[in-house]
C-alpha cells in the first residue's frame, strides 16, 4: 500500500518540469490562496443568495456550517499531526519541487481537509455546486502531489477528515439551530442577512 502511494506520487511528480505552461497552471492551483479563496467566495455568495428569506436562511446555514467545518477539520488535522509525523516526499526522494518546502508533517494534508470540508458543507444542500467544489478540492490535492509536497494518502486522509468535520458541523448546526435562528433574525433586522 505504501509502495503504491509512493509510486503514484513519483508518477504524478514525473510530469512536473516538462512543460512551462503546465507548471505555471499547477503553481497557481497548488497555492495556499486560489482554492481557499474561491471556496470562501462561494460560501460568501451563498450568504446573499436566495429568492426569499426562508431560502436565504437555508443558504446562510450552509455558510455557517462551512465556517465551522473548517475549524473542526483544522483541529482534527492538528490532533493527527500531534500523533503522527511523516516526512514530505521531497525529503524522502530527490524529486522536482514546485512549491515552497513546508516543514510540518505531510500526513494528513490540511489543504485537502479544508477543501473537502467546504465542499461537503455546500454539497449537503446544493449538490451541483458542492460537486464542483469537490472537483476543485481534488484538483488542489492532486496539484500538491504533482508539486512534490504530499503523498496521495495524505490527500485522501485530509479529504476524509474534511468530510467528517463538515458532517459534524452540519449535525451541530442542526442540533443548536435555535442559536443561528435568533442571531440571523437579529441580522435580518439590520438587513445583512
Amino acid at each position: 500500500m505504501i509502495e503504491l502511494d509512493h509510486s503514484v506520487m513519483l508518477w504524478l511528480n514525473g510530469f512536473a518540469g516538462n512543460s512551462r505552461l503546465a507548471d505555471s497552471v499547477m503553481q497557481a492551483l497548488v497555492s495556499d490562496y486560489l482554492s481557499p479563496v474561491l471556496s470562501s467566495l462561494v460560501l460568501l455568495g451563498l450568504w446573499f443568495s436566495g429568492s426569499s428569506n426562508v431560502e436565504r436562511y437555508q443558504n446562510q446555514l450552509v455558510t455557517l456550517t462551512g465556517g465551522i467545518a473548517i475549524g473542526f477539520s483544522n483541529a482534527m488535522v492538528m490532533m493527527v499531526n500531534g500523533l503522527i509525523f511523516r516526512e514530505r516526499p521531497f525529503v524522502d526522494y530527490d524529486i522536482s519541487v514546485h512549491f515552497y518546502a513546508p516543514t510540518d508533517s505531510s500526513f494528513p494534508a490540511n489543504s485537502a481537509s479544508v477543501g473537502f470540508a467546504i465542499a461537503t458543507a455546500v454539497w449537503l444542500r446544493h449538490r451541483r455546486l458542492g460537486s464542483a467544489l469537490y472537483v476543485l478540492a481534488a484538483i488542489w490535492g492532486l496539484a500538491r502531489v504533482y508539486a512534490g509536497v504530499h503523498y496521495p494518502s495524505d490527500i485522501f486522509a485530509g479529504a476524509v477528515i474534511g468530510v467528517i468535520g463538515a458532517l459534524l458541523a452540519a449535525g451541530i448546526v442542526r442540533i443548536l439551530a435555535f442559536i443561528p435562528r435568533n442571531v440571523f433574525k437579529a441580522f435580518r433586522m439590520i438587513y445583512i442577512a
Binding site: 497555492s31 490562496y33 446573499f48 443568495s49 483544522n74 433586522m189
Partner: protein, 151 residues
C-alpha cells in the same frame, strides 16, 4: 515586502467579493444591491469579468507560493484578512448602491403612516436600497418608542 503581499491579497479579495456580490444580487433579484440596476445582464457579464480579472491580476505576476514563515500569509492571518476585506467590500457595495439607487429606492412600498413594521431581511433589497431600509427600520422604532411614551 510582506506588507505588499498582504495588500495585494486584500485587494484581490475585495475586488472578487464585489464581483461575487453583483453576480449573486442579479441571480437573487436584489436590485437594490446593483451598481447597474437597469442592466442586469451586463452586470452579470461584468461581475464574471471582474472575477476573472482579479484572479489573473493576482496570479499572473509569478510565483505566489511563499512560505508563511517568509513572505506568505499563514492560514489564520489569511482567514482574518479575508473576512475584513470581504466585509469592507460588502459595506462598500451597500453604501455605493444606496447612493446610486437613491431615487429608485424611495418607492419601496412601505408606508410608515400605516403603522406596520417594515419588511425584514435582505429580500427587501429587491425593492429598496440598504440606506432606505435602515432608515425605515429606525423610523419605525422611533415611532414605536414615541407611541409607548405617549401611553
Amino acid at each position: 515586502m510582506q506588507t505588499a503581499f498582504l495588500i495585494e491579497y486584500i485587494a484581490w479579495v475585495f475586488v472578487s467579493t464585489i464581483g461575487v456580490l453583483q453576480f449573486v444580487a442579479v441571480q437573487s433579484k436584489l436590485w437594490g444591491l446593483l451598481f447597474l440596476r437597469s442592466q442586469p445582464k451586463a452586470t452579470k457579464i461584468c461581475s464574471i469579468l471582474l472575477l476573472v480579472f482579479a484572479f489573473i491580476w493576482y496570479f499572473e505576476p509569478g510565483d505566489r507560493n511563499q512560505p508563511d514563515t517568509g513572505l506568505g500569509l499563514d492560514a489564520n492571518i489569511q482567514a482574518f484578512w479575508f473576512t475584513m476585506s470581504a466585509a469592507a467590500a460588502a459595506g462598500t457595495t451597500l453604501a455605493l448602491t444606496s447612493i446610486t439607487n437613491h431615487g429608485w429606492g424611495k418607492k419601496h412600498g412601505w408606508d410608515r403612516r400605516l403603522g406596520e413594521a417594515p419588511p425584514i431581511g435582505l429580500t427587501w433589497l429587491s425593492q429598496t436600497t440598504y440606506f432606505h431600509a435602515i432608515r425605515a427600520r429606525m423610523t419605525h422604532r422611533g415611532r414605536r418608542a414615541v407611541d409607548r411614551a405617549g401611553k
